[in-house]
Every structure is written in C-alpha cells, then in structure tokens.
C-alpha cells in the first residue's frame, strides 16, 4: 500500500510559503502523493490552484484531488482544470482526479448549481472526461487516473461505470473494508476487468491534537453531531497512525492519504518518520 499526504489547502490561514514548502517536503519524503480537498464556502485554497502550485515545486510525487466536488464546475471547465494541472505537472500520469458530489448544500448554493441534480451532473462530467461526447475534450486529460467517491449504490455504480477506482471517505478499516466489497461488486457488475483501484483517507496530526480537533469541528460543523465523531477519529499518535495503516493495508487499500488537521510543517516530517 502506498501512502500519500494531504496538502493543508482547506485549513484556514495557510499561505504561499507554507503550501509550497509542504509540497516540497512531501516530494522529498516517503509519500507517493499529495492530495487536496475541496470546499467552496470556507477559508480554503481552490484545489486545482493548490495542485498547480504543488506541481510547480515538485518532480516526483503524484498529485490528487481527494476529492474535488465535480458538479460545482461545468464539465468543460473541470476537464480544463485537470488538463492544466496535468500539463504543469509534466504529464497526465502524475494526476489522480478523485471526484464526488460532496456533502455541502451551501457550496452548491454559492456556485449557483442545483444540489438535487448533483449525481446526474457528476455522471455527465465523468462521461465527458472519458470523451463520451466526441466533442472537444482536452487531450491532456486522457491519461489522468479517475476516482469516484460516495457511499450510495448509485455512487458505486458511477464509479464502476466511468472511473479507474474508488475514493473512500474515511473511517475505521472495517468501514473501508465494507466499502471495498461494494466497490468490487459494482466493478464486477459493470463487467470491468480486474479490480478497481482503492484509495482511503484519514485525518491526522502528530502535533497539537486540540488544534486538530478544533479544525475538524469547524470544518464539519455543517454535519451537526457528526463533526464530533470525525474529530474523535483524528489520528494523533504514531501508534494510531501505524494501526490505521496496517488495518487499511490488510483490507486491500492501494493508496492511503493522510490528511493534515494542523498546518504545521513539522507534521510532514513527523509523519514521514512514522511511515518509513
């Protein structure tokens, strides 16, 4: 199993120096990818912009959205953004485009996009990214690895129909395992060969646990009671990180992305020490 690290693009207050240095250290470290989150109505850096910055200061590491809320963008704009990052990264093979519908109606409202049609809109985007309309699709998109997230039956079907793999939304290994079964079942149902790529994610800080928890409570405040659950699951010790890695590896995860909850560069180094 490969391990990636999140870029703190949705932690309020991050600046140019921190994001660039974070990406440089990730590229120099034992990580296979740097990944970004997507949140419109929040003090956050837009994911493709953040990946562009990371692309400019890195050579090796894979760049990933984990996930980007596809329907907030038109299919052509999304394809253009992905193609642009791929170009800046030196090739589509360095980009993993994880897409989902997100969970936040206020993002849709702000983007002026109808929330109720989000699933259908994501399917249209995926078909477009695959070149389904035979219209102009950006050639640089063609080698981009596509992941789809979500926990509903239609999400799994959409993943198996259009994507290369599945982006899980986080939780204990047991939850990942249950989702992996559904992803593989969908893959088989749609007649795809082999198995879907399986990406997992989890939050961590190996520094200030209280700050990490406070960030998660704030970021997920829109979920009501669930913010506490997400904050409670934050990995705050080396032991917890290692246990989770072992659990995900055992369930067949291909790439686990550890997302920061504190924008502290020392956390990149601490995590690097834990995973080597």
């Amino acid at each position: 199993m490969r391990i990636g690290i999140g870029l703190p693009n949705t932690i309020p207050g991050v600046d140019r120096d921190l994001l660039l240095e974070w990406a440089r250290r990730a590229d120099a470290g034992p990580f296979s990818s740097v990944a970004v989150l997507d949140r419109l109505v929040y003090d956050a850096v837009e994911p493709f912009t953040a990946l562009s910055a990371a692309a400019a200061v890195s050579e090796r590491v894979r760049l990933a959205t984990m996930i980007a809320i596809g329907p907030l963008r038109s299919p052509a704009l999304l394809a253009k953004q992905a193609a642009s990052v791929a170009t800046l990264a030196g090739g589509a093979s360095r980009l993993t485009l994880g897409l989902g519908v997100g969970a936040r109606p206020d993002d849709y409202e702000a983007a002026g996009v109808e929330h109720s049609a989000r699933g259908a809109r994501l399917s249209e985007q995926l078909a477009y990214l695959r070149g389904g309309r035979g219209e102009q699709v950006y050639a640089a998109c063609d080698g981009v690895e596509l992941l789809v997230g979500g926990a509903s039956g239609p999400a799994f079907a959409r993943m198996a129909r259009y994507a290369d793999g599945y982006a899980h939304g986080g939780g204990p290994p047991r939850a990942f395992a249950a989702a992996a079964v559904r992803a593989r079942a969908a893959w088989s149902d749609l007649g795809r060969h082999g198995r879907p790529a399986l990406w997992g994610q989890a939050y961590f800080t190996l520094g200030d646990a209280d700050r990490g928890a406070a960030y998660l409570r704030d970021y997920y405040a829109f979920t009501g009671g669930f913010a506490e659950r997400i904050a409670a699951a934050n990995l705050t010790t080396a032991r917890a990180v290692k246990d989770l890695i072992r659990g995900y590896a055992a369930e067949g995860c291909d790439e686990l992305v550890l997302l920061p909850t504190v924008a502290d560069l020392d956390d990149v180094d601490r995590l690097a020490e834990v995973i080597v």
Binding site: S123, E124, Y128, G132, P154, Y162, V181, S188
Partner: protein, 703 residues
C-alpha cells in the same frame, strides 16, 4: 455527575448499575411509568457471546442471571409433520420479569434511585448532566427530537402475537402450520423451568382471512390454542396483554442530541425472529458506561458510545431484516423438502453459512449433504457426500458436473474448465455486428463458428459444459472498450443504434431509433441464426440475454419502453418481443440442449420493474421454454439505485426459484465456495457464477 435514566427496562437498569459501580459519587435516578413488577412479553434470549460481556461488566448479576437460565443448544423445525433438529446453537433464556427483578435489586443495593409509576409528559421536565432515554420502542424522547435523531420507524414483517405457555421445550422451536386461511408460524423457546415463550406469526392477509382482526384477546388465544393443539398437547397458552402487533423497525441516524442519549429499543430495534433486542439493549448499556468512564466530557463520551455501537447494531439490524423478510415470504418455500427447508431457515439472516452450520452440527450437515447428493441423482444409500457445490445438476437434458459457473473469453474457455468450473459461459456474444457493445466484442457469424468450436472443444476436454450468451446491445451499443469505462460512446466511428424506444441510455449516449416491424424481423432472424451457429459450434447451453438494459431488456422495462403499439404498455405487451425472440431461438436451438434466459428481476429504479413484477417476467419466460433463469438486477437505465454487497442477488434468486419455481443461476459478487455451497444446498439457486477475480491460481494464495 447527575444521570437521569428514563425507563427501567434491562438497558436503563443495567446502565444505572454500571455507572454507579464506576463511581458511587454519581447521582443516578431511574424513572419508570409502570409498576416494578409490570412487564410485557415473556422470556428473553441471550447468545453465548453476550453472556461473556455480562460476566465482565458485573459479575454479581451475571451469576444471578445465569443461575435462573434455561439453556439449550438445539433449534427444532416442525414442518410438514417432520421435526428436524439442528444442534450447536448456544442460547439461554430468562423470564423478563426475573431479569428485571435481579437488576432492580442490584440497583437498590448500589444506591441507584428507582421511581416507579412516574409518567413523563415532557422531555424538558427531566434534568441532569446526562439524560438517558431508555424508554423503549415508543420512546417519548426519540419522538420529541425525531428530526435531531433522524428517526425512522416503520412496520416490518408479519403480524405477530406474544404468548407464554406452560409447555417446557428443550429447544428453540419453529412450527409451520398450514391452514385454510394460509400459513402460520411459531417461534418458541423456554425461559425457565416451567414456561416458554410462544410467538405466533402470520402474513397480514392470512390474519384477516382467519378473522383475527375482529377477535378479542381471549378469542385469538383460543384460536391459537386450537391451531397448535398438536404441539401444545395438554399445555395451555397464556396471555399477558397479548394482542396482535406489527413489529416496529426503529433506526436513528444519530443516537444523541446534546446531553440526551438513546439506549436500547429507543435507538434501534431488530426483528424478534433473531431474538436480539434485549442483548443489544444490555450491550448498549455496557458501551455507554465504558464511554462515560473513558471520558470526563459527556458529549465526547456520547460520540464514543455511538462510534462503538452503531456499526455492530447496524449489522444485527441487517441480519434481522433478512430474517423478517424470510418469514414474510416463507409461504413460497413450503414446497421444499423438510431438510432443505430447515437449512434455508437456519441460514436466513446470512449470519450462518453452510460452513458455519457444519461447525455447529456436523451430523445435520452430513445428512443435508447426503440428501442433496441423493436429490441430485446420487445413491439413495449414501451416508455422506461431497460438499453441495460438487453435486451434479441435471437440467435441460444435460448434466453439469458441479454448480460453479465461470465466465470466460473465447480464448480462455479451456482454462476456465481446467480451473474447475462445471459450466463455462461466454460474455455477451452479439448476434449481429450492429448488436455489439464495443468494436472488439465477439460475434457468432459463419466465419467464427470454427473458432468457437475449438474453444468449446477445449472446455469439453477439460470436463466442463459450455454456454453461449447471445444478445444484442440495443441502445448500449457502439461504445468504447470497457478498460476505460462503460457506456462511453465511441469517439469515432460507430453504427446506428436500435432499441424499443428512442431514448438514450445515459449521459452523452447516442439516441437509438425505435424499432419498426422490419427491425424486429431482422433481430428475430439474427437471434435464430446465431442460435443455429451456436449449436454448430457445439455449445451445450444457450443463454438469451434479456438483462441489463440491452436490446431485449429494453422492451421489458417501462423505463426504456415507451412504445404505444402492441410491444409496449402492459406487462404482456412488453414481454411480446422478447418472447418472440425466445420462440425463434427455441425453434433454432436443439430441443435436448439447455436454454436459459438472463433477466433483470428488478430495475432498481423508480417507475421500473420491481421484484414482484420481475418474478412474473421470470414465470412468463419459463412458461415460454426457458429452463434456467440467470438472475440479474439493474442496469436498465444508467441512473438506477443498485444495492451492492456480497451475494447481493442471492435473495432475488431465492425468490425467483421458489416463487416462479424455475431453476436459477446467480452471481452477484460470490467470491467463496462457502457462498456457493450455502446458496445451492438451501435451495436459493441451482448454479452460481463465481467471481473470477476472487479465485486466482492457487500458487498466488500465499502471496
């Protein structure tokens, strides 16, 4: 900490005990609307693992509880005059009244304040650092904060009534009795030295036909007493406010709101047919008490409790859903031989498989396997037999050597046979070039017969039979190869698409033309021609693909078929063209070879074919000559709502096989031989499509 617990059932009392034990400084008050000795229902059941948790949590009550236990390890199934027994299922039962008395005493001993006969009208009247709503299935707190908890409460399963009896059983006993009104079933189990619980259940229409909807409590008791006279003998049924009920299935998105937390039935219920309600409630109490010990902050503790409990409870609820559904449709399984019926019953919730049954009761499984081998044409004197998947299947004039089907490309058919499959099936083989899904898909025209012949010969040499799946992609045609997605239209080239109606399949798909009479004639002829060539190529079985939204499936579903002629509208009209094709194939295909139809039994989409209608379709297709139904679901439209999990089609296959009474082949992400054994021996399917990705070469097992 001041803790107010509403409801003095097992969950509330046990939580009081555990919290007080953890810190005697806690001020704990339990209020209950009823009197201390008032209780509904009779005995409750615990499994072995629950007992371990009770022992660790509070040894004194554990000793008292287990001292009064009725224990048994047998499940009896009384059915068609036979009594089948399966051992190795460890259960214990206790009178609910006794359990409550033990817990109440322990509360008093520890200094937990108990107040009975207190009616709570408004949640606001209760205060405390922690407020525990252990007030049962009709929880006032849950109803008050229903939107905060995200509550769902809906009736589930059959009508039921909960009696006691002085008949002391030595097992958990299921009784199935046919009447002129319909099927009745009993769930009964002992709970002390003189009494058993006796739950009577039947479908709602049966209940009405029997007049039970109009009977008094006493009349319905007498009705049941007469109905089960053979089992009860001289013993009598006893009522304790025993009236007919609908089981209420309760679930909540979250179990806490502020400092209010739901416990036991207030938070979740699991259908009584798996006997887990009290077990779950007491496990809740243990988890909540442990969380309160780990965290000083109440809200953190409640989050921890919920994280700890929800996944396990949801698993039990899913098993209970399967069990409730089993009893709702069990009337369709009463044609089964008693031993198979019992096996189907014991594996109903998905928690016990064939292998699990063999661990519990090797003798039961030995008899089951021997019976299955015998019913599959084996010797009547056999005392033991190979696992069920190795029983040959005689079907459509041919014999398949075992129950495993593997799907294979043409070039790998011999390999699939060597891997062990009884039947090797192709993927979709198009009956005409324009019926392909993608440009590289196989077809079966005159030029390919020889190549197919040699592939089929390869499978035969390795001992397997070969099946061809003939189809026409319809509106799902002319797409890019599947390695980078499905239903992605060809970027360049392609061919005109035809379908029942001029509706595109999914986003960015091309719009097909609606088929006219000439198209229909061409398609019928193409299927018949391909069937003739498939026979020439040596295939032993032919599967007509009428599933997954391809051309024939498109006629069957109102979501894809908007025709206003004789081929659209009613179920009969939607069936017309697929049945015409089936008839054309039937004529062209040798009568002594197996003819199967692959069918989406449900569209998994609003406004589409649902399972009840899908079973009707299966019945019609079988009546028209299909000897095997390959059970599929969904993909009728791109936007359906599939329900993926392990074995997600097995229950549908069970329904088709036992309601339409036609042999079935089922896949649905089956990855283990145990799943195959379980499905075939319990009569849920006749053949299983094993997922090839899950059974790699044995050399790779250690890697």
């Amino acid at each position: 900490m001041k803790v107010s617990i509403v409801g003095a059932g097992p969950a509330g009392l046990y939580l009081g005990i555990l919290l007080k034990k953890a810190d005697p400084a806690h001020e704990i008050e339990i209020v209950e609307r009823n009197a201390p000795d008032a209780t509904f229902g009779w005995g409750v059941v615990f499994s072995g693992e629950t007992l371990g948790a009770l022992r660790d949590a509070d040894p004194p009550t554990y000793v008292e509880i287990t001292d009064t236990f009725a224990r048994w390890d047998t499940v009896d199934v009384r059915y068609r005059g036979r009594l089948l027994r399966s051992r190795g299922h460890t259960f214990s039962g206790i009178a609910r009244r006794r359990l409550l008395a033990i817990l109440q005493r322990r509360c008093q001993e520890l200094g937990v304040k108990l107040e009975f006969g207190v009616e709570i009208d408004a949640p606001e009247s209760i205060s405390g650092d922690l407020i525990v709503a252990a007030d049962g299935v009709n929880s006032l707190f849950r109803r008050h904060y229903a939107d905060k908890f995200g509550s769902t409460v809906e009736p589930q399963g059959c009508k039921y009534v909960w009696f006691g009896t002085d008949l002391v059983l030595d097992a958990f006993r299921f009784i199935f009795t046919d009447t002129e009104h319909g099927l009745f079933q009993v769930h009964s189990y002992p709970f002390d030295e003189s009494t058993s619980t006796f739950i009577v259940e039947c479908a709602e229409p049966v209940w009405r036909r029997a007049g039970l909807d109009r009977m008094s409590e006493q009349e319905s008791l007498e009705f049941c007493q007469r109905l089960f006279a053979d089992d009860l003998g001289d013993h009598r049924l006893m009522s304790n406010k025993s009236i007919w009920l609908d089981f209420q299935r309760v679930s909540n998105r979250t179990w806490h709101h502020g400092n209010v937390v739901l416990l036991g039935d207030a938070a979740h219920t699991a259908h009584f047919s798996i006997g887990s309600g009290t077990k779950l409630a007491m496990e809740d109490a243990i988890a909540l008490a442990a969380a309160c010990i780990r965290h000083t902050d109440v809200r953190t503790a409640l989050v921890d409790y919920e994280l700890e409990r929800q996944p396990g409870v949801e698993r039990v609820q899913r098993a209970a859903d399967e069990s409730a559904a089993f009893f709702s449709r069990v009337v369709h399984s009463t044609h089964m031989a008693p031993r198979q019926f019992a096996a189907n019953l014991l594996t109903r919730s998905g928690r016990i498989s064939h292998a699990g049954l063999a661990v519990r009761d090797p003798e039961f499984v030995r008899a089951l396997e021997a019976w299955f081998a015998r019913s599959s044409g084996g010797s009547g004197d056999a005392r033991f037999a190979p696992p069920p998947l190795f029983a040959p299947l005689e079907i459509g004039g041919t014999t398949v050597r075992n129950r495993v089907v593997l799907e294979s490309r043409r070039t790998a058919m011999a390999d699939a046979a060597l891997a062990g499959a009884g039947l090797v099936t192709t993927g979709l083989v198009a009956v005409v070039l324009d019926g392909r899904i993608s440009p590289h898909d196989p077809v079966l025209d005159d030029a390919q017969v020889a190549e197919w012949r040699s592939a089929v010969d390869g499978a035969h040499e390795a001992g397997a039979l070969a099946m061809v799946r003939l189809g026409h992609a319809g509106r799902r045609g002319a797409t890019e190869p599947r390695d980078r997605g499905v239903d992605v239209p060809l970027r360049a080239g392609g061919w005109p698409l035809i379908a029942a109606s001029a509706l595109p399949y999914g986003p960015s798909a091309r719009t097909p033309t609606s088929m006219d009479a000439d198209d229909m004639e061409r398609v019928r002829a193409a299927f018949a021609g391909a069937a003739t060539r498939a026979a020439a190529a040596g295939f032993d079985a032919l599967e007509l693909d009428a599933a997954h939204g391809y051309l024939l499936a498109g006629f069957l579903s109102p979501l894809a078929n908007r025709r206003e002629d004789d081929y659209g509208g009613s179920e009969e009209s939607r069936l017309r063209f697929p049945l015409e094709v089936l008839a054309a194939v039937r004529d062209a295909w040798p009568a002594e070879r197996l003819l199967a139809v692959r069918l989406s039994i449900t569209d998994w989409a609003r406004g589409g074919v649902a399972a009840d209608e899908g079973i009707e379709l299966a019945r019609a297709v079988a009546a028209a000559g299909a000897q095997l139904i390959h059970v599929e679901a969904g993909q009728t439209i791109a936007g359906g709502v599939p329900e993926y999990r392990r074995g997600y089609l097995t229950t549908l296959s069970d329904r088709v096989r036992n309601e339409a009474r036609v042999p079935t082949l089922v896949g649905g992400y089956l990855t283990t031989l145990d799943e195959v054994n379980t499905a075939v021996v319990t009569g849920r399917a006749d053949l299983c499509l094993l997922d090839l990705s899950a059974i790699g070469p044995v050399e790779e097992v250690d890697q």
